[in-house]
């Protein structure tokens, strides 16, 4: 009874978190968090399952190979979500001085307090892991094409294996963060750990959020890009360990299915896929053992560190007083005499710096925005290299995405700054302002934004300058730095244009309308559109579609096989179009090699862009539905192809050029819309 009461007490403490409003209704918070987890994981499972539902003819080898990508996505997501939960809870994962104050005076043995605390932590981890992985696990059987003769036992095996592996991956992610925290605390001691704890938490948050945002674009081609390559990089990727574990547990369910003769256009791809998948069996076993060993080691180390740190109840750690040295005095003098001369400006300036650096909520807001900015920057700058023709002083020879990254990062960081400013530093202490406030917001606000410049904008631009100086040359980097300063000034003014609350003081009231986020939302929209446009025309994307079939030429072989069935004398408009795709692949590759980015593509003739717009999603995916919408049927021989062949083509190609998650939601919705077109046209047939 006492244990249950204590466990419940500790569980509620997880919800009374600094990141969540301390006055929020705990049931509402619980419902919102649970609903979010279920909705996001369910949405992901649905997106992954959709191509399998429509890819009934996909043979077993190709399913096995494709399944590796999906398992990588699910294990990575589970690992990252659980690690993020651990980072978000951070200080609540261990006993703290408040527990000592509340429970230390009660006649409860230390062992009981420690046991119940870690039981609560375990329940939190299990609860989140189950809620996150439940829907994808139930959806597992949907990701087996209906025409594959998988037995009921096989389906159960696949489902159980998925559940076990994703839960194990989540446990690994959670335990890694907990182990890191407790291990560091055990090694350096509570007093020193308190000093580095905030920085460690922020760094982990940035790393994990960045990884989460990059995951959708990085999970494709696991077998070819990672497993088949071998090497240290593949072995060092924890999600791959658990992919190996899954294949060891349940990979044979699909792999041992009888290989009936697939449709002709699948033969080569199926053979290649089967060969590749089966050649990796030793690798799966090896990775499975690594996963088990890693989970065991992390579990043992974490448990040992937790037990070591729980030898006695923690006492409040008083931070060592640090007086201003010469540098601190000089800094204050400069601020007081140069940067912020008036008292109110100084109040805003110093209070902002103190709050941003010391308060958890503000640090989390900034770390999250930094992570989003870094991810956007990495996504847009991916694959952009300077070609041999790059002139160190010529900005026009630099790929646009390389330059756009700075703007993306600045916009994201400043949006995070605005968010941080809206969160009260300490709501109860706001009476300080109520009594001392002179009613003059402008100079105070000026101090706040000035602090934002010095604490956020200048370090961001400084870091980018070093990178740009290395990549682009000092002159261009300095020019780009200046552009960044100007953009920051514009963004800062725009973001705070209609801001009339007292920063860090006014209670945070979530807005029911978009207007307060208008500027940030518009910026995000523009930049996301920019990223999508780039991805859409990305040569890498087009090449990867071909690579999933084994070789670039495989795709043309598929079409060649299809064309065998086409009645002689048909015009080859479609073939020309498809070959045109390969030509554009080459063109795109060349463009990428020579560092010509989106800007150059933006200058291409409209009709070329229009053609690019159709590929690869439209042209490959919509072999069937497109012909119905073309006015001049003479240019589209598919109208004369037997309906069955059309269906097979659609099934074959659609599986491989399914909308990858890195095309983001808009692309997915676009693809789904076209699926509906397929269904509508199939019904009469």
């Amino acid at each position: 009874m006492r244990d249950r009461l204590l466990i419940r007490h500790f569980l509620w403490r997880f919800l009374e978190h600094d990141l969540i409003s301390p006055n929020a209704d705990r049931h509402v918070v619980l419902s919102a968090l649970g609903g979010t987890l279920v909705a996001v994981s369910g949405f992901m499972a649905f997106l992954i399952a959709t191509p399998y539902v429509f890819g009934n003819l996909m043979p077993p080898g190709m399913v096995s190979l494709s399944s590796l990508d999906d398992r990588f996505l699910f294990t990575s997501a589970s690992m990252l979500v659980m690690a993020l939960v651990a980072v978000a809870q951070w200080d609540a994962l261990a006993l703290d001085a408040r527990d000592t104050g509340a429970l230390g005076v009660l006649p409860i043995p230390l062992a009981v307090i420690v046991r119940t605390k870690f039981a609560a932590v375990a329940l939190l981890a299990i609860g989140v892991a189950v809620v996150w992985n439940l829907t994808p696990t139930f959806f597992r059987f949907v990701t087996v094409p209906a025409k594959l003769p998988v037995s009921l036992v096989g389906l159960v095996t696949l489902t159980l294996a998925h559940g076990v592996v994703t839960l194990a991956a989540g446990a690994f992610g959670f335990l890694s963060v907990l182990g890191l925290r407790e291990g560091m605390s055990a090694i350096v001691g509570p007093a020193r750990f308190r000093r580095i704890s905030a920085a460690l938490q922020a760094a982990l948050l940035v790393a994990l959020v960045t990884a989460s945002l990059l995951l959708p674009g990085a999970h494709a081609g696991v077998a070819r890009n990672w497993l088949a390559q071998g090497g240290l990089a593949a072995s060092a990727l924890p999600p791959l360990w658990f992919v190996g574990l899954h294949e060891t547990l349940a990979g044979s369910v699909i792999d041992t299915l009888p290989r009936t003769s697939p449709p002709r256009y699948y033969v080569v791809a199926e053979r290649d896929a089967t060969d590749l998948y089966r050649s990796l069996w030793p690798r799966y076993h090896e990775l499975a053992w690594v996963a088990i060993a890693a989970l065991a080691i992390v579990g043992v180390v974490t448990t040992a560190a937790c037990m070591w740190n729980s030898r006695r109840l923690p006492v409040p750690v008083v931070r060592r007083a640090h007086k201003d040295g010469a540098a601190g005095r000089a800094w204050k003098w400069i601020v007081g005499h140069v940067v912020a001369r008036t008292s109110l400006r100084q109040a805003g300036f110093f209070f902002t710096l103190q709050t941003l650096s010391r308060q958890v909520s503000q640090r989390v807001a900034l770390a999250s925005s930094l992570a989003v900015g870094l991810s956007l920057m990495l996504i847009t700058a991916r694959g952009q290299v300077l070609g041999p023709g790059h002139n160190a002083g010529d900005v026009t020879s630099v790929p646009l995405p390389l330059l756009a990254g700075q703007s993306l990062l600045l916009a994201s960081v400043l949006s995070g700054f605005r968010r941080a400013v809206r969160i009260p530093a300490e709501l109860r202490a706001s009476t300080t302002f109520s009594l001392a406030w002179a009613g003059n917001l402008t100079p105070y606000m000026s101090g706040v934004t000035l602090a934002g410049w010095i604490a956020l904008v200048l370090p961001t631009l400084g870091g980018l300058f070093i990178w740009h100086a290395t990549v682009l040359g000092t002159r261009l980097a300095a020019f780009h730095f200046g552009v960044g300063l100007a953009l920051s000034a514009l963004l800062m003014e725009t973001l705070f244009l209609r801001y009339r609350r007292v920063p860090f003081v006014s209670p945070y009231i979530p807005s029911s309308e978009l207007r307060p986020h208008g500027v940030a939302s518009a910026a995000v929209l523009v930049f996301v559109s920019f990223a999508l446009a780039w991805l859409r025309g990305s040569p890498q994307l087009q090449i990867s579609c071909g690579q999933r079939l084994g070789e670039d030429d495989d795709l043309s072989r598929v079409h060649a096989e299809v064309l065998d069935d086409v009645v002689d004398g048909l015009k080859h408009g479609h073939v020309v179009s498809l070959n045109g795709t390969r030509g554009e692949q080459r063109l795109g590759t060349e463009l990428a090699k020579h560092g010509v980015g989106l800007r150059e593509r933006g200058l291409q003739p409209r009709e070329k862009l229009a053609r690019r717009e159709l590929m690869p999603l439209v042209e490959f995916l919509l072999t069937v539905p497109l012909h119905g919408s073309v006015a001049d049927a003479a240019n589209y021989p598919l109208a004369h192809i037997a309906a069955q062949v059309q269906q097979q083509v659609a099934d074959a190609v659609r599986r491989f050029v399914r909308p990858r998650p890195d095309l983001l939601v808009a692309e997915m919705l676009e693809a789904l819309r076209y699926f509906r077109q397929v269904i509508r046209q199939e019904e009469p047939a």
Binding site: A321, H322, S343, L344, F350, Q354, A425, A429, A438, G439
Partner: protein, 240 residues
């Protein structure tokens, strides 16, 4: 609160007494403008403070019942924030903060986070923050809570000294001895009503009691404290 009306004159320390829940802190918040009155008004220099609360706050010093401070700041940082918000000249602010921290015995901990302070230390920070700008009106809501004996004695003398310099001081406390010695006049509130408003001597004469404690007991206590204490001890000793 109902029908609460009293006056605090310049150069006067007025004690504000009442049992728990009688409305002392509520009155203090109304007087400082942190809480709006549903009826009536708070007048300062004959003018309703609601008409220009900022101007009133410039001349007000307030020590709240709970020392709610920014715990991530040090005492110096907090006091600098308050002084800057009140637009005190930087040199004067630095000088005042240093001197007051020294006089209140907080200098050794001045650079530590307030979160690590004891309640008494936090209370001292609040008192300094209320005095930094040399206010004309002081509202102190149990400022002696958590203070040690020496600091309490200093506070008593400080109130008298400030009143002599023309400040109007409203002092709410549960330490009746302190109120008796520091205050020129006492207002007693009970269940939201003022039940007494006079000098300590006049009340003692009126109630025929020898001390303020006895006067207070007669005004607000409805039960015999000795009897109540015995009842509590009986409940504590109940093991059945």
């Amino acid at each position: 609160m109902s029908d609460v009306s009293f006056e605090v004159r310049a150069g006067e320390v007025v004690g504000y007494l009442g049992p728990n829940g009688s409305g002392k802190s509520t009155t203090a918040k109304m007087l400082t403008g942190l809480l709006e009155t549903s009826a009536g008004a708070v007048l300062f220099d004959g003018q309703d403070i609601a008409l220009d609360p900022v101007a009133f706050h410039r001349r007000l010093g307030y020590v709240p019942e709970e020392p709610n401070l920014y715990t991530f700041q040090s005492a110096i940082e907090y006091l600098e924030l308050v002084g800057r918000l009140r637009e005190l000249p930087p040199a004067l602010l630095t000088r005042k903060i240093g001197a007051l921290l020294e006089l209140f015995g907080l200098s050794p901990a001045a650079n530590q986070d307030i979160g690590s302070y004891s309640k008494g230390m936090k209370q001292k920070v609040m008192i300094i923050a209320a005095l930094l700008h040399d206010p004309d009106v002081l509202v102190l809501d149990e400022p002696d809570s958590g203070l040690d004996v020496a600091a309490t004695l200093v506070l008593r003398q400080l109130l008298i000294a400030l009143a002599r310099r023309g400040k109007a001081v409203l002092y709410s406390s549960h330490i009746l001895e302190l109120v008796e010695k520091a205050c020129d006049r006492v207002v007693v509130i009970h269940r939201g009503n003022v039940v007494a408003d006079d000098t300590v001597e006049a009340l003692q004469r009126l109630m025929s009691r020898g001390s303020l404690e006895e006067v207070f007991s007669q005004l607000v206590l409805r039960a015999d404290p000795e009897r109540t204490a015995a009842d509590i001890a009986d409940v504590v000793a109940d093991h059945a």
